[in-house]
Every structure is written in C-alpha cells, then in structure tokens.
C-alpha cells in the first residue's frame, strides 16, 4: 500500500468498538430510566428503614414529681431489654396527660398507693408491648426489693449477685458476630449484582444479535477481527454497567449515612462497595463473554431469551440460594461452598463479604478461580462467536459452532 495510512492496532480497534457501545448506550432513555429508578429505590429503602426504626428506637416516658425516682431504674431495666427510654418531667398529672394526648409522651408514670409497686401507668390508648414488658419487670423488681427489705436483706447486694450469675458459654469455634445492618447490606449487594448481571448480560447478547439481524456484522468483520468486536462490545457494555453500579452504590451509601440508617463504619460501607465493584466486574466479564457467544448462535431478538437461559439459570441459582439462605443463616455451609464455585461466586460471594465473617482464603480462592476461568471462557467464546456470527437464519447448534473451523 502507499504506507502513509495510519495503522489501526488491536487496542485502538477494541477501544473504538467499546466507545461506540458506550456512547450509544449511555444516550438511550431506557438506560437512564433504569439507573434513576434503581438509585431512587435504594434512597427510598434508606428513608423507609429510617422511618420504621425511628418509631421503635426509644420511648418517651413522663414522670410526675412523685415518680421521678423511678426514672433511673426504668432506664436500667429498659437497657437490659435492649430498649431506650427518654424521660420527661411533667409538672403535674394533668400536664402529663395533656402531653399524652398530644402524642408527645408514650406513657406517663403516676404514683398509685393501691399498687404493690407504688405506681401505675397512663397511656393514650394502648401500650407498646416492649414498654409494657420493661414496666412489668420494673414493677416486679420494686415488689422483690420490698420483700428483700422485709427479710432484712439488702436489695442492692441481691441484685448484684443476680447480675453475676449468668451461664457462661465457651464456644469451641468463635462465631462471627453478624450484625443486622451488614446482613441488609449483603442482601442489597446481592440484589444489585444480580440485577446488573441480568440487565447488562442480556444487553451483550442482544447487542450481538442486533449486529447479526441488521447484517452489519459482515461489514464490521471486513475490518476488525471477531475477537476484537466481541471484546469491544463486552468492555463497552461492562463500563456502562459499572457506571450504573457506581451511581447506585454511591447513592445508597450517601443516603444510608445521611439518614443515619447505616451505622456500620464508613470503611465497612466503602469496603462493601469496593467488593461489590470487584465482583460485578468479575461476574460481568465471566458471564458477558458467555452471553456474547450464545447470542451469536441466533439471528432474531426473540430467540435471545431461550439461548442465554442455560447460563442465566446459574446466575439465578446463586442469587436464590443467597437471598433465601443467607439472611437467616449467614454461616450456612451450602452458601459457603457454593460461593467459592466460579459460576455462583459473583452473586453469592459479594453477599457473604458484605455480611462479614468470610475467611480471607475463601475470598482469595473464589476471586482466583474466576480469574483462571475467564481466559478459558474467552477462548471458547471467541471460537463459538467466530464460527456462528456470520451464519444467519436458523439457530446454530452449539456443537456445530464449536466444531467448525
């Protein structure tokens, strides 16, 4: 040739293909809407959790002058039961009742000489079960103290002895202290990865079929190699999905911290997001190349669903096991074993990692296995893709695509 033309290497070709995917897909309405909906959902989740937990986080209890000494013992009892009580002083019983009616107080403690405990409780309509338990325990203690005094004992000593006498448990294996917050974080991570693999993985298969249906693939293959086209498509759509994931992840963390719903440390939250991204990338590349190869087998968009379903079932299986087993049993050995197997790892491992308590070796082995598997899948997928992508019409059999040179 004349030799003055610029030479297009492998990487620029892949980058051009990826760039086209990126610019056309970021501009589509469906992508923007999906991202916005997911971001709004995760913010809404934080707000709802805030509202739900806000109503049960503490009780507003009013005391009249005579019952004020009971405030401190009630705090202790409530704390032992995992409740918090905020005490308010009412200037009179009438003042306290007014506050009850207005909803400022959950309960008003008034003196009651007829009661053995010396107090009774006024509420607006009914009393919260947890608060009733706390007050019952308090009444029981007062009655017990009176009996101890009658028997010439010291209530404080008895209480101290009682507090000390607990059953000591010696675990042979230290269990991991799972926190509800981390469990929720894990479930959210699992849902995000799952949705992302479904949406973006399908998009890869559809993109391949789009080129096949419109026949543009022949024109493309006259200038780029099949693997460059496939790699560019996977990279481009992967980036599109990554941007979506980052937007949602950051929205979630910011909303969680801002509403105070997330009380786990910022490092733990950021750690979850980083693991989420690592596993999104691993899972996406692993599945996307498989989806690209499977997509190349068919020529019509209607057939995409059925041709990718065998791979899709693996994504769904990992997700279903994670979402159904892990919340109630985070240390489930079924989930533990499956989370190391490459095909299930992308959905299960990030859930377990967010919940915490994953031994370092398991995290490393699962990442390592996926990384080892990817080149093998790339080789296999490139072969299928190359052999099938120019055959339009009837669905190409997988065995044919693998065999043909």
């Amino acid at each position: 040739m004349t030799g003055t033309e610029p030479i297009l290497g492998n990487w620029p070709a892949v980058r051009l293909v990826a760039g086209r995917e990126l610019s056309t897909r970021l501009r589509t309405r469906s992508y923007r809407i999906t991202t916005a909906i997911l971001a709004i959902l995760i913010i809404a989740l934080c707000v709802i959790m805030k509202l739900v937990s806000g109503s049960s986080s503490g009780y507003e209890v009013g005391f009249t002058g005579a019952t004020q000494p009971l405030a401190s013992p009630l705090h202790q009892v409530a704390a032992a039961l995992g409740q918090t009580v905020t005490d308010h002083t009412a200037t009179s019983q009438a003042d306290g009742e007014a506050q009850l009616r207005s909803g400022k107080l959950d309960a008003l403690i008034i003196p009651d000489a007829k009661s053995t405990s010396g107090f009774s409780v006024e509420v607006k309509k009914d009393i919260d079960a947890n608060l009733r338990t706390a007050l019952n325990v308090l009444a029981g203690q007062i009655a017990l103290d009176e009996q101890i005094v009658k028997l010439h004992g010291n209530p404080a000593t008895v209480r101290a002895a009682e507090a000390e006498a607990t059953a000591t448990v010696h675990p042979l294996q230290a269990p991991y202290p799972y926190q509800t917050q981390q469990l929720v974080l894990g479930i959210v991570a699992g849902v995000l990865i799952y949705l992302s693999l479904m949406i973006n993985g399908q998009m890869v298969a559809q993109g391949v079929v789009e080129e096949k249906t419109s026949r543009v693939v022949e024109l493309l293959l006259s200038t780029v190699r099949p693997w460059q086209l496939m790699a560019g498509k996977v990279l481009g759509i992967g980036t599109v999905g990554l941007i979506q994931m980052l937007v949602i992840g950051v929205c979630g963390i910011v909303a969680g911290l801002a509403t105070g719903v997330l009380t786990v440390s910022v490092t733990a939250a950021v750690g979850t997001v980083i693991w989420l991204i690592v596993w999104y990338l691993l899972g996406f590349f692993m599945y996307a190349i498989v989806f690209a190869a499977l997509g190349a087998l068919v020529s019509r968009q209607e057939e995409v669903g059925s041709v990718v379903s065998p791979a899709m079932i693996l994504v769904i299986a990992g997700y279903v096991v994670g979402i159904s087993v892990l919340p109630s049993d985070p240390s489930s050995s079924l989930a533990e074993v499956m989370s190391v197997i490459p095909v299930f790892a992308p959905t299960l491992m990030p859930m377990r990692l967010a919940m915490g308590g994953v031994p370092a070796w398991e995290a490393i082995v699962s990442v390592g296995l996926v990384i080892i598997l990817i080149p093998a899948l790339v080789w296999l997928a490139a072969r299928i893709y190359r052999n099938a992508v120019l055959r339009s019409g009837a669905r190409v059999k997988l065995s044919q695509a693998l065999r043909a040179a």
């Binding site: 040739m1 293909v17 419109s214 026949r215 543009v216 024109l219 006259s222 200038t223 120019l390």
Partner: protein, 308 residues
Amino acid sequence: MAQRQLEIDKISKRYGDLVALREMSFAVRAGELFGFVGSNGAGKTTTMRIALGVLSADSGEVRWDGKPITAQTRRHIGYMPEERGLYPKMKVADQLIYLARLHGLSTREANRSVDTWLERLGVAARRDDEVQKLSLGNQQRVQLAAALVHNPQILVLDEPFSGLDPVAVDVMSDVLREKCAEGVPAVFSSHQLDLVERLCDRVGIVRAGSMVALGGIEELCAAGGDHLLVDAPDAPAGWAQGLPGVIATGAEGRHTVLELQPGTDDQAILKAALDTGPVREFTHRRATLTELFRHAVSSDGPEGSQAA
C-alpha cells in the same frame, strides 16, 4: 513498476460435503472494472468474503501487489456485502464516521470524508437521521458511502446495483468509473448483465465454484460468434431453422436472433427472409453478455455442487 493487481489464486472452499469454490482464479488490475457474474450459489459471494477475510479459504491465496493480503491491507478495501447492513438506530453520519475510523482514519479525516461522500451521493440532508428512517434507496446510498468513506484502494462490491433506482444506478456507475480512473481496481458482482456489459472492462463468469469464462468484454463477445437480427413480421415461427450456417435461433421481441457459423453467407439468409414477406430490419450483432452467460452456464453437463 509492475502493474499492481488483486489476484485471486486457486481458492477452494468446502462446507462439509458441499464444494463452494474449486480453484477459483482471476486477477483485477489497477484501474480495471471487473464484472463477476454467475448464477445464484455459483460462489461469487464466497469468493468476495474470502478476499475480505470474513471467511477463510481451505486453500489458495489472495494477493495484492504480489504479496499475500493481510488484515492491514484489508483495511484499504471498500466492501459492500451482499447482505446489506448498517446499525438501524444509529445516525447516518455517526455510523459512517465510526466505520471510517475502524478503517484507520482519524476523527477529522473521517468527518471530512463523510461530508464529501454524503454530498456526492445526495444524502447530505439525512446525515442526522437514523438509518432505519431512510428510504430503501437512500439506505443503499449510505451503504455505498460506507464502502467508500475510507478512500479505499481496492473495491469489492457484492451486487452493488441490486435495489437501486435508475438515478442511483447512474450515480453508482459514475462513482465506479471515477474510482477506476483514479487507478483503483474494482470487482463487482451483478445479475444485471447489460449493466456489466456496458460498464466493465473485463468479466468473469462463474459456474459451480470455478471460473468458466474470463476475459475482456470485447474479446469474449467477439469469440461468442456472429449474430444476425432479423425483423420479418410475416415470417412463420421457425422459418430460419435448417438454413445453412445457422446454429441456433431465438426471439427477442419482434426480432429473430440467429447465431451463425463463422463464414456463413448472410445473403442466403436475407433471401430466405424476403421469401416470407417484407423485411424491416436485418443487422449483424456480436454476442451479448447475456448470450455468453447462458451458453457458459448451461453448457458442459449438469450443474455441480452449489453453495452460497
């Protein structure tokens, strides 16, 4: 300097038991317009796909300028696949810029070239429309632009004229002639044999995966024998059969077409024609490409294995 040419050298390809190409060979010189004709399934598309590297051959070689063609050289080929295709939802200009850049042009060069070609092919007004919104004729023009935007040094066009309106056929013909004048070798396949005859310098006729006739239009047609066109309105059907020197007879509208043996006395035939009544026209004509084609495709035995 040796004449630069695109050489297809003994290319064979089989799909399982199906022989698609059997030692297909021909060459297209710089500045030459080469017509590639043959029945459906004769192997034209397969040959072009192999030249573009979209398919690989079982044996044989494609060379440009004496050297085996590589992925790098292929970037300089303008290709129009038989299966037309562009991204339906991508804008015309964006799409062409993308394709030009895939062929190695810089963004600026690509932009300039796209503008030039859209203008030249009369679709500049549609540059920001999605391809799917264009009429079929305009889509074809964009498809041709896609083959030309990277200023190719070789053109390989599979059925470039199919589906074009007469105006677009003229535009396309002009572009092809112009490219050839610049020294670009061009191969195109077509079923419109009159068009091939009018445009091409050389033609190749393919049958069942191999070349059965190859050469300049003039020489091929001259070798195709002498033809006589007679308009004798009152003549009964078959009036010329059995006349000395007449090999075959046919009809073209009101005319009878007679294929003559070399050295036949045409005056004897004229006399026979006059015996039937008035003769309005009596002309010699060399064989047309259509006649050559029918001859080449139907002669020597049944069709062999065929593939697309």
